[in-house]
């Protein structure tokens, strides 16, 4: 879990200690690549802290941003060719169309355990190593320090 405000306060109050705290080599951040996700839900099942949730809403606009070479990218290109206007808002995805479910990741709930990165079959969730300089020790509230081997 990210360091609480109280934890940061304690760290900050120790003169000379906070600046030497480092996360080099052990820090990482969970990175999601929506366009690789096939909506299988494995990450949702294994996450121990419900940081990942499945939503049945789908926003067609995200197809336009998906890279070529992926199913979503190809779908976006096809949609663009026949579209009469820009996509107007999200809609409910039918029950059996899992591929287009939206996986929502709540960074603030993430423990950094890495279970999702091991469960994901497509590499849509990975761990990115982060250096201390980048996150300012453990102070970055929206970054997740964790112990997944980079």
């Amino acid at each position: 879990m990210p360091l609480t405000a109280r934890g940061r306060e304690i760290l900050g109050s120790l003169p000379g200690v906070a600046p030497t705290v480092t996360t080099d080599g052990i820090g990482c951040e969970i990175v999601r690549r929506e366009e690789l996700c096939i909506g299988c839900g494995r990450c949702v099942k294994v996450c121990p802290s419900a940081a990942i949730a499945e939503s049945s809403r789908f926003d067609p606009a995200q197809l336009y941003d998906a890279p070529a070479g992926t199913t979503r990218g190809a779908l976006g290109a096809a949609l663009r060719r026949i579209a009469r206007h820009e996509p107007d808002g999200s809609f409910e995805v039918p029950e059996r169309v899992r591929t287009f479910r939206t996986i929502e990741f709540d960074r603030t709930r993430c423990l950094g355990c890495g279970a999702c990165t091991r469960a994901c079959p497509t590499g849509a969730v990975t761990a990115r190593p982060v250096n201390a300089g980048e996150i300012g020790g453990f102070a970055g509230a929206d970054r997740v320090p964790c112990a997944v081997p980079a």
Binding site: P60, T71, A74, L75, A77, A78, L79, R80, R81, I82, A83, R84, H85, E86, P87, D88, G89, F91, E92, V93, P94, E95, R96, V97, T99, F100
Partner: protein, 157 residues
């Protein structure tokens, strides 16, 4: 189609495939994905019985409608089809258990996708039938033809 004159009158001229005239701007193209187990068998029976069908429909044989994903349907529309329909087994009678149910949901998904960009949802539809039900296949094909003929051609960029 060879006319009776060109074949020397030796062969009886087959009944012409009836095509109701398209609304205004030329003939439409409709792609039909038919499952091997039911719809294609029904289509075959229709052909053997020489029942006239709209010439706008081009058929694609698939093992199961469950194989057809949103990308197949969308690609057909993007590459020139004015409408796409799937014909599969009756609900509960899919030879691969639930392929047709997946297909029904995927069609619903594509319909929502089309609606979100201002394209008529009726351009994409799904029908179910048994292998023996040739009349139902004919009805589905004709209905699709009528629907798409009543719509303008699908414009592309």
């Amino acid at each position: 189609m060879p006319s009776a004159a060109r074949t020397g009158g030796a062969v009886a001229e087959p009944e012409r495939f009836a095509t109701e005239p398209a609304a205004d701007d030329g003939e439409r193209t409709i792609i039909g994905f038919f499952c091997r187990e039911c719809a294609y068998a029904a289509a075959d029976a229709t052909g053997n019985a020489r029942v006239p069908l709209p010439t706008t429909v081009r058929s694609v044989l698939v093992p199961c409608t469950g194989r057809v994903g949103p990308l197949h349907v969308m690609s057909a529309l993007a590459e020139g089809a004015d409408g796409v329909f799937l014909a599969g087994c009756l609900e509960g009678q899919c030879h691969y258990r639930e392929g047709n149910l997946s297909a029904l949901d995927r069609i619903a998904f594509v319909q929502r996708l089309l609606e979100s960009v201002g394209v008529e949802r009726e351009r994409v539809q799904m029908f179910t039938m048994s292998a023996a039900d040739s009349p139902r296949f004919v009805a589905a094909t004709k209905r699709m033809h009528a629907t798409i003929s009543a719509l303008p051609r699908l414009e592309r960029r």
